[in-house]
Symmetry: C3
Subunit: 422 residues, 3 copies
């Protein structure tokens, strides 16, 4: 029998719901609207997988921290005195108070504001007022969360036993990321957007560009709208764009080869826990950056790049993040579920640590394209959530250029099946 | 076993709850506050009965549309190229997005803003980008909803098999409505009010005038406060009003007979799915319209009426609408459930299509009485919802002049009983 | 089987949850976050125990009333023509409308605004429009609630059979309260604060001063931060404060003995339904009142006190109130649950009925310390609620100076155990 004390790992009939799913079609409504499925998503996906939570640029010095919520969890990501990245549950071991209440900051020790229980950045309890005899501070450290950085991108895993295949993924993607020198970047801007839809609708929306041509006028100045199409499927009106793409891609490949930078696509979206996709692709227009004309948004380039024409190094990591690393800046996205119908999307723009605001870049230009694009996507996601809530909703078929959405759905159902009680 | 995928038709013990009801008394609290009963109401009442949703005046030209929500359903009501009224589920057959997002407008085709799936006003899928071989557009039209107009009032039915007795009702009420020429009206004003109570409290409040004398100072300038009383029950203080009523009613009957307009009451509130009540009754004061002194609110009369003194032709239709057709304007009301404790009331004022705002009528005068009356009713409904939520609430007896409320409750319990799983 | 009509007295496994609790530790998360436990708290605690709701000063004249909500209940507290305090359910016996809708006021009879059903202050139905033959008004009075005043403090009990041990408590605490002459006070200020946490977190927060030293800079000007410590546990930094406390306490005891006022601690927090604690303790600083320097906030003293140095007569009454009676004013607190994570805290400041605002006292100075302290406590409670909602929360041990919190938890679990279905 289910008890109040233990929320169920999964609704009793989640297995049946999964079994009903028709391959190649959108997910059934309960996956988007049910509170029970939402709880199952937190347990089966967000509490089991590695999750991108922050960039190292946000916690450059020992004592720097960010806090964030992952479903019902509150997490502290910080750097200890030895300079290592650490993640801790933001729950005091005394009476459960949130310990750090600001979204980010810098502290010496981590002190709970309620009764001054004091922890170090590794979570060790240093001080707890007057306690009864027999009180052992070693038993009351802040609970640990697995944390690691992949070339400057911080991932955490809430599970006791993190999925093992992350190592492999990290090893294969690091060579794509490292040339951009994220360890020498700073945060130029960060934006939180709450979309009124399920987190999976947010991810699905991101996995196709079928909607870009009409939906993202600013983005398609530089993002080729043929994304996701196979050659045979490209509509006639997009053939000129495709021709530009082929030329730009050839040039980009040469530039990468000269600089010994990897660029080939790796796509392993399903069949593994750490599903991902990585690739370097050219940009349209001037080909340099995500701006309306494609020219750089930051004069001071990342790393020691000698050219601004390096396209976009795009990484997608399941369940909840994607990244674009350019020559002049990097932009990261993390998707955090708040409720069945509410999702936080946090976007962070990084520039070279020596770039000077107002001289090398201005924030409005730097953030313009993705600020607009996110807002447009938020509208699409909100309409999708509203629509699938109707009893008349029937999942339709994915088009060929939505194959990555279908792959995400496959991956998601793999995770949920794996998490079903045996 | 109940699955997530199929929400239950009714709570397991709705039958028991219905059986507990004491005839002649108000409904028990769960009928007003329970989320399960609310879902059962949507399924057993709103997804089965004919529902008034709009006037034809709101969709005069092909391509004109309104969208509205009925519980979790989103509906498009539109006019096709042949001029016929159509209703469609507002859910894209691709990935479920809301298709039309404005409350009203005019379109050539119906285009989903997400991936540009394009439908005609009959719901037929005309265009859907590049699809896999074997994709049959004929299988992906917008889902149809039964729709019909009764002399200019548009009703829809979400059920596959609409209740048959609507035909009979339509045939009997049309002769009362037709003389007002709604096909030659336009919308002068429309007002949405969200009341903080269950939809049944809204309907019950509308079915008695016990509360009018103190509750509706503007309305009772013209609406006789003896409504619902039998002769023996009329309180002494209302006898002068009753004497005025008898004189005005005799005059009205003559006027109707001269013009061959039906006026007799038909009251079939329970014992049938399409429960209704229709009657022409006189107005107090100048006897012409719903204004503070009873004079007309629009100089240009409806149809080709030769007198403004035609009283009010009042139609009540269960579950969720009522109408007042006067000589100078018509006003329609539709009640749409949003949540157990939230209900939308939409009021629409129609005037002759040739009436000129600022010349023949002004909106403030036209809408004054029902704007005030609706607001007052909203307060009553909110207090009733708050009160019945207390564990101390015990349904009290209806007074004789609340017999129509009792009839509505009887009708409602008939519907719920009918919808119980066998 | 549970029916919709009867909400369960307790969740099916509340017994199991209670059994899991570890003595001496904070409560498990479901006690704070579960909607089922919240409902069980209302039924098992708030609908069974005596609850402090108002001071007599708020209803000085016949017809004066206050309304307040206790969970889903709405209650009228009033004074009848004979001057007796009465409590009634604020639910019309007709169709359940809230009867009185203002938070306080003064009326002749109690008239429901919906259909004018009219009751006297004892709840008797005086008038109900035209009713069917056989309608017996005596069957439709407003439902009664037990009410009584303890030396000017009004308590109600929603149960049919109130707990018997309240009499004993009332008899023992009255001699502490009576010298302050609350019957000759008036309300100088009242403040409602909605804290974003469970009502038990609000009470627990109030039962310890472990958090005062850092958390309440204004309060500890006069409230000794050694509260709750035993002599051996007092940290060294607090020894000077403790020395001041001992001197002030000796002086206070003399003052009380001279005036024949009781001051000894009585502490019976668990093992009985009407758990309470009462004591007179000295104040720090000037020792007169809750101000930043400890001097009086009202020149006109309560009763006929000849000295402002009478410390604080502090009463704590479970489940939901505490009181501080000083020489110059009194302040009362009542804690009313709104939702699992929302709680109303109402604070009322009383001064002598002859004190003149702007001459004898000003409201800002009078309310300053507890206004600040309440706001700070609200922040602590909100952080605790947020923290215990994390799946990572594990109840920690209470420190020795939190023994009253532990006692409250023991008392609460006694109540819940008692309320379990047999």
């Amino acid at each position: 029998m289910t008890t109040i004390a233990e929320r169920p790992t999964a609704p009793a009939d989640l297995g049946g719901l999964i079994a009903q799913h028709r391959d190649g079609c959108a997910l059934e409504a309960p996956f988007y609207v049910s509170h029970e499925v939402f709880d199952a998503d937190i347990r089966g996906v967000f509490a089991r997988c590695w999750i991108f939570v922050a960039t190292e640029a946000e916690i450059r010095e020992p004592g720097d921290y960010v806090t964030l919520d992952i479903g019902p969890y509150s997490v502290i990501v910080t750097r200890n005195r030895e300079g290592q990245v650490r993640a801790l549950h933001n729950v005091c071991r005394h009476r459960g108070s949130r310990v750090l209440t600001d979204p980010s900051g810098s502290v010496g020790n981590i002190v709970c504001g309620y009764h001054q229980w004091t922890y170090d950045a590794d979570g060790k309890l240093l001080h707890a007022g007057t306690q009864a005899p027999g009180f052992n501070p070693n038993c009351f450290g802040l609970k640990q969360i697995h944390a690691r950085s992949v070339a400057g991108l911080v991932f955490i895993c809430l599970a006791e036993e993190p999925p093992a295949d992350f190592d492999d993924m990290a090893e294969r993607v690091a060579p794509y990321i490292e040339p951009h020198g994220l360890e020498h970047t700073k945060v130029a801007a960060q934006e939180d957007l709450i979309e009124t839809g399920n987190w999976k609708l947010v991810m699905e929306n991101n996995r196709e560009c079928y909607h870009c041509e009409n939906g993202h006028p600013e983005l398609i100045c530089t993002f080729f709208p043929t994304y996701g199409y196979t050659l045979e499927e490209i509509p006639e009106r997009l053939l000129p764009a495709h021709a530009r793409y082929l030329r730009a891609d050839a040039e980009l490949q040469r530039a990468c080869q000269e600089r010994e930078m990897p660029f080939a696509e790796i796509e392993e979206l399903s069949g593994r826990v750490s599903g991902f996709r990585i690739q370097r692709e050219p940009l349209d227009g001037a080909g340099e950056s995500y701006t309306r004309d494609g020219t750089s948004a930051c004069r001071k380039l990342l790393a020691d790049f000698d050219t601004p024409r390096l396209g976009r190094m795009s990484l997608h990591h399941q369940p909840n993040s994607w990244f674009h690393l350019l020559a002049d800046h990097a932009v990261t996205f993390t998707v955090l579920p708040l409720a069945p119908d509410r999702t936080l999307v946090r976007t962070t723009w990084l520039v070279h640590e020596d770039a000077v605001e107002g001289v090398d870049y201005d924030v409005a230009t730097l953030t313009d394209v993705w600020h607009q694009t996110n807002a447009q996507d938020g509208t699409f996601v909100g309409r999708a959530q509203a629509g699938v809530s109707s009893p008349a909703y029937e999942p339709g078929p994915y088009a060929p250029n939505e194959y990555q959405v279908a792959a995400f759905v496959t991956w998601y159902l793999e995770r949920m099946t794996e998490a079903l009680p045996q």
